[in-house]
Symmetry: C2
Subunit: 198 residues, 2 copies
DNA sequence: ACGTATACGAGACGACCCGTCTCGTCCGAG
DNA sequence: CTCGGACGAGACGGGTCGTCTCGTATACGT
């Protein structure tokens, strides 16, 4: 489901759609989000401006669809080896590498920034990119609660935020490096707060 | 120190400077950051555009100075009553109320969003608005470490991030409400991770 | 298989804002 | 008092916006 489909989607050109996504992702990496323009995307994609305006309300919506299209598999479950700390560290290390990769950085950062400023966009950004990730951590933490490994009274949502928010905040505002040592420390600290037997 | 003072600052019109700040803060609340323009600020302030371009490099820089001017007292130390949990909860509750107030919201959110997208701006934003806040929590946590109240091996910086990042992330991306109950929970969880006697 | 509807590429259009510049005025430092 | 420089005002070319209007090409309905 694109953001605002009004014309007849059956007649839509798949070729143009892909060209627009490719152009948007390439351009946001080359010139940055503020200088990303609809005209520029259209020209690079070999497409009329109207074709973009027909299907998307803004450059942010184009980028969100383009990025979502290219980032499948964000909704997979965490491994559950029984060792909660190891599972969390493993996935957080992978996330760390992803956020350090340039191809991921530019569009994701642009969308996060645009979402922070625009209430409507932030809803779509959160629902389509952030929440699926949150849910995966929440599920794994609930499983650990049922296994009696962590405090059953702790709110998995808040624990997830304590794991991911320091991480994303560092990255978004560039207040520190994202390293495996850092994410390991986060996991250890959060789990020390909710270990059972206190 | 403004962002880029090149002409003779002694001859500068204080009257215009204030009018520009007032106009920028009012407009960002009325039309939002993306539709905030230098021309608009100049017109509202009754000022020539050149007067703005003479003293600031961008609308973000104007807004950062305007906001900083209006937000004195962000560098004060936390109270130290000896009860670490109570001190942290007290200040975090106050911060919570501040972030929920509309006059604070619009410019701060605009600056955070612009900083996320622009590397140079994020440096200034972090240094002038975020780090002073971080330092205050770090100091209070170090004092608690010296008093033997919390684990001396824990990194105060990371603990500060675990307190503040979930908070600001919720606010920035609108992923949840900011309530006193929420901030209290954060304090309790973080302190459980580093309480002494384990 | 054909006819028709409609999305398509291309680009013109007025509106807005950008950042620079040029005026003539006014004010403050020396 | 003098005078240099910041001031308010606004003209200017350039770029992007979002809308529109072409003629073309293509996929659907019968």
């Amino acid at each position: 489901m694109p953001t605002t489909p009004s014309p007849n989607a059956a007649r839509r050109s798949e070729r143009s759609r892909r060209a627009i996504f490719d152009a948007a992702l390439a351009l946001v990496g080359e010139v940055g989000y503020p200088r990303l323009t609809i005209e520029g995307i259209a020209a690079r994609a070999g497409v009329g401006k109207q074709t973009i305006y027909r299907w998307w309300p803004s450059k942010a919506a184009v980028l969100l669809d383009a990025f979502t299209e290219g980032a499948e598999g964000y909704g997979e479950a965490l491994p559950d080896t029984g060792d909660l700390a190891a599972d969390l560290k493993y996935v957080l290390r992978a996330t760390c590498d992803e956020f350090n990769s340039p191809a991921f950085q530019a569009p994701y950062r642009a969308l996060a920034a645009a979402g922070a400023a625009d209430e409507e966009l932030s809803g779509a950004f959160v629902a389509r990119l952030m929440e699926p990730g949150f849910a995966v951590y929440g599920d794994r933490l609930r499983a650990a609660q049922e296994a009696g490994q962590i405090d059953p009274d702790a709110d998995p949502r808040i624990l997830t935020e304590m794991l991911l928010s320091p991480f994303s905040q560092r990255w978004l505002m560039r207040t520190g490096e994202l390293t495996h040592a850092y994410t390991d420390t986060l996991v250890d600290l959060v789990l020390r707060a909710v270990r059972t037997g206190d």
